[in-house]
């Protein structure tokens, strides 16, 4: 059935909500990429199969919902039993019958499946009480893990498309733009440009057609916020785009999705098809005369295509080389027409700002960075996953309260934000509030939301080499400072990790970095030297140890370390098969030896030894 008036949408909303309230008892199976990798699909199948055999009164198989990512991927597969919010982790198909018998039919809690807090070592029963979730505030991720990702009716039940109805029936485009400007929402893709201002510029250009593009090319390695939103709550992105299109006067939108995200494409396409069927996309939406269509453009694996002008070229079927932005893409963008390009998370924030108002949104966060920000908190932290926090929370609160601290309680070394173009902050900066301006001032940047925590076993110079290597291979090659400069910078840093560099090389690298920053054409090149510049700023000593003492304090740089077995060795022989190069010998229950002539320093023995018997020297 097609929805042709706002009244019909309201009626459908009431019906869907009533149904949701009736089915109070629900089983939520997280089907984000993380949980799917851990076997969530088999869990869903087990529920379907078991519920066919066992009839539970007042509970049908329809109440088993496959939702998007909860964010706590490491504990997956996750199952939540509503309305109590019982939170089960690491669920296996064989647990399902037990969950049905005890938790669904009899409201009991199964102790063994509960989450254990690594800090207090106690079991936690309910989902909202888990520290990982309780310190968060979810706005952009509001529906993740709450509604079935693939069901438009679930989205409508929780108030979906109410914002669209509101703008189409009671707001003028100018009012919408004013509301976005007042809310202070800044672009979540990294640059932090004011969303309202971007929309206003686009709307003011006297040229047609205008385009709306959603940037789902989440290229930063170590970040997966946008992926989770596109997979778990695709409708909020579509609704945000529709509101934007109405505000700037556009009839055609594109979502550019990364090649590595096939599930996101499937869910977005299903959402688009559902909207077209229900009359929420297409001609004369809700009978208001507004027409809008959305197409998906799939990326083809190029980091530079996250840059606006390169992305637009890629949508147009060309190779993704950026252009100089004397004229901004909001003026001349896709097919040389005015184009609004916003990030997935930005669009996901739009509907709720329209419904709750700019004042509400402004009241969250700090004055210059309003609202919340999603981060992927990963690396050497106990609770890794997807989080959303109000702007202004300190890095320490994020890493220790939500993240639970460093794995094995090792010393904290640095936190990296902003992807390859961002920077590393040391312990002394942990009490800084997280917002756009503070992070930039400290020498890092907000970026799209990757937050990678490192302990003392991570080598900063190796990390710089890693990012530079990434940027060298992703440089499109159009301009010389980026193409040649980054290549040479990478060579110098590589020499440092091999103990072959001098202090003069360090000075040369600093000079070269300045040239790359000044001379490059697009954002990728202009920030391309950041992996080096931001690490030399806070970790110069570590660079100097590599150069002067030919030593890697973290025990990472292969040319500067060797592995040796100490007398804690029990002769358990676990390391012998782990070594692919046959370089470890020894009798059972006797001290083993690593033969340095055969050892490639791959670290496999170190990773398998449970007796702390292998030293990195």
């Amino acid at each position: 059935m097609s929805i042709t008036t706002p009244q019909q949408l309201e009626k459908l909303h009431r019906e869907c909500r009533a149904k949701r309230e009736r089915d109070k008892k629900r089983v939520i199976v997280c089907c984000g990429t993380g949980c799917l990798a851990n076997g969530a699909a088999e869990i869903v199948e087990a529920f379907h199969k078991t519920l066919k055999e066992r009839k539970i009164e007042g509970f049908s198989v329809e109440a088993v919902k496959e939702t998007g990512c909860h964010g706590f991927c490491e504990q997956g597969p996750l199952v939540v039993i509503e309305p109590h919010g019982t939170f089960y982790t690491h669920v296996k198909p064989k647990d399902v019958a037990n969950i049905i018998d005890k938790s669904i039919a009899d409201n009991q809690v199964i102790e063994t499946l509960l989450y254990t807090d690594p800090v207090t070592n106690t079991k936690i029963e309910r989902y909202p009480d888990v520290p990982f979730f309780s310190h968060q505030q979810r706005i952009a991720l509001r529906n993740l893990g709450k509604i079935a990702a693939n069901d438009i009716r679930e989205y409508i039940a929780v108030g979906g498309y109410q914002a669209l109805a509101k703008v189409l029936t009671s707001m003028k485009p100018d009012q919408i733009i004013q509301e976005m400007t007042d809310s202070g929402l800044r672009g979540r893709g990294g640059a932090g440009f004011l969303t309202g201002k971007k929309w206003r510029t686009c709307a003011s250009i006297k040229d047609e057609p205008r385009y709306v593009i959603c940037n789902g090319d989440e290229g930063d390695p170590g970040a997966f916020m946008d992926r989770s939103i596109m997979e778990g709550d695709p409708h909020s992105v579509l609704e945000g785009m529709m509101i934007c299109a109405f505000a700037v006067g556009s009839n055609q939108g594109y979502i550019y999705v990364r090649e590595e995200y096939p599930l996101a494409v499937i869910h977005l396409q299903k959402a688009i098809n559902d909207c077209e069927r229900e009359g929420l996309l297409g001609d004369n939406i809700l009978g208001t005369g507004f027409s809008f269509r959305i197409r998906i453009a799939r990326g083809a694996g190029a980091f530079v295509c996250g840059e606006s002008s390169a992305l637009m070229k890629s949508v147009a079927g060309e190779i993704g080389e950026p252009r100089a932005k004397y004229v901004r893409s909001v003026v001349k963008g896709l097919f040389d027409k005015p184009t609004v390009l916003n990030n997935v998370e930005t669009f996901a924030n739009v509907p709720i700002i329209i419904v709750k108002g700019a004042d509400w949104y402004k009241s969250i966060g700090v004055p210059t960075s309003t609202g919340t920000k999603a981060f992927s908190l990963v690396g050497k932290v106990k609770n890794t996953g997807l989080i959303e926090i109000p702007m202004g929370m300190t890095l320490r609160e994020i890493i220790y309260d939500i993240g639970g601290g460093i794995i094995n309680d090792r010393p904290f070394k640095a936190v990296q934000t902003g992807g390859p173009s961002g920077g590393c902050l040391p312990e002394s900066k942990l009490d800084l509030p997280v917002d756009f301006d503070t992070l930039t001032k400290a020498g890092s940047m907000m970026g799209s939301g990757g937050m990678i925590v490192m302990d003392d076993r991570t080598c900063i110079v190796d990390l710089a080499k890693y990012f530079l290597n990434f940027l060298v291979s992703e440089s499109c090659g159009k301009c010389v400072p980026c193409r040649e400069g980054l290549y040479q910078l990478h060579r110098i840093v590589t020499r440092i990790t091999e103990g072959k560099a001098t202090e003069a090389d360090l000075a040369k690298a600093e000079k070269l970095s300045d040239a790359i920053v000044l001379g490059s054409l697009c954002g990728l090149g202009q920030s391309g030297a950041n992996p080096f510049l931001s690490t030399i700023k806070y970790f110069r000593d570590e660079y100097l140890t590599h150069i002067r003492e030919k030593r890697c304090p973290a025990g990472v740089c292969k040319a500067l370390i060797r592995y040796e077995i100490n007398d804690k060795c029990t002769g358990c022989v676990a390391c012998v098969p782990a070594c692919a190069y046959d370089s470890i010998t020894g009798e059972k229950k006797k001290l083993h030896v690593i033969h340095q002539d055969k050892c490639t320093k791959c670290g496999a023995c170190y990773a398998v030894c449970t007796y702390d018997a292998i030293d990195v020297i």
């Binding site: 990429t33 993380g34 390695p221 170590g222 090649e259 083809a300 060309e318 992927s376 670290g603 398998v608």
Partner: protein, 151 residues
């Protein structure tokens, strides 16, 4: 390697015959043959009325396209930042050693292709390896051999 190219016109016609469709058509061909055969590049250029050089430029610019056939199993080691600091290089090392090929190569019997990928967006379970479309999280050196045996 010989292929049945009779499906090519159908793959090309899934999209409007204009230069804007170039990348989408190449993606269709890549999905079908798991690489871009020379014949397909020529037919695409002809159908869209663009020079072959432009098709070749797109085919070599984007990482997803390959001009060489891929093995039955495509193993991708994620080397995103989160995976990197949790030991992705070690996993890559082990796979290269077990398969006797380097990243980017295909084994002679066409069974395995080993690739590295910048990030697959499953960072919370680092390090991650994907085998064809299936994700394997928290991979450690002792699990690598088992990964190869998995169907």
């Amino acid at each position: 390697m010989t292929h049945d190219f009779s499906r090519l016109p159908e793959l090309i016609d899934r999209h409007p015959r204009s230069p804007e469709s170039l990348i989408m058509i190449l993606q269709e061909i890549q999905r079908e043959y798991r690489y871009l055969p020379c014949e397909a590049l020529m037919q695409t250029a002809y159908a869209l009325g663009v020079p072959l050089s432009r098709v070749f430029s797109a085919a070599t610019f984007y990482n997803v396209f390959s001009l060489n056939p891929k093995g039955e199993k495509v193993i991708r080691v994620c080397v995103g930042t989160a995976c990197h600091i949790r030991g992705a290089a070690l996993i890559q090392d082990q796979l290269e050693n077990l398969l006797h090929i380097k990243a980017g190569e295909t084994s002679e019997d066409m069974k395995y292709t080993l690739e590295v990928v910048a990030c697959v967006g499953a960072c919370a379970m680092a390090p991650v390896v994907t085998v064809n479309e299936k994700y394997h999280g928290s991979v450690n050196p002792s699990r690598v051999k088992k990964l190869l045996k998995d169907k």
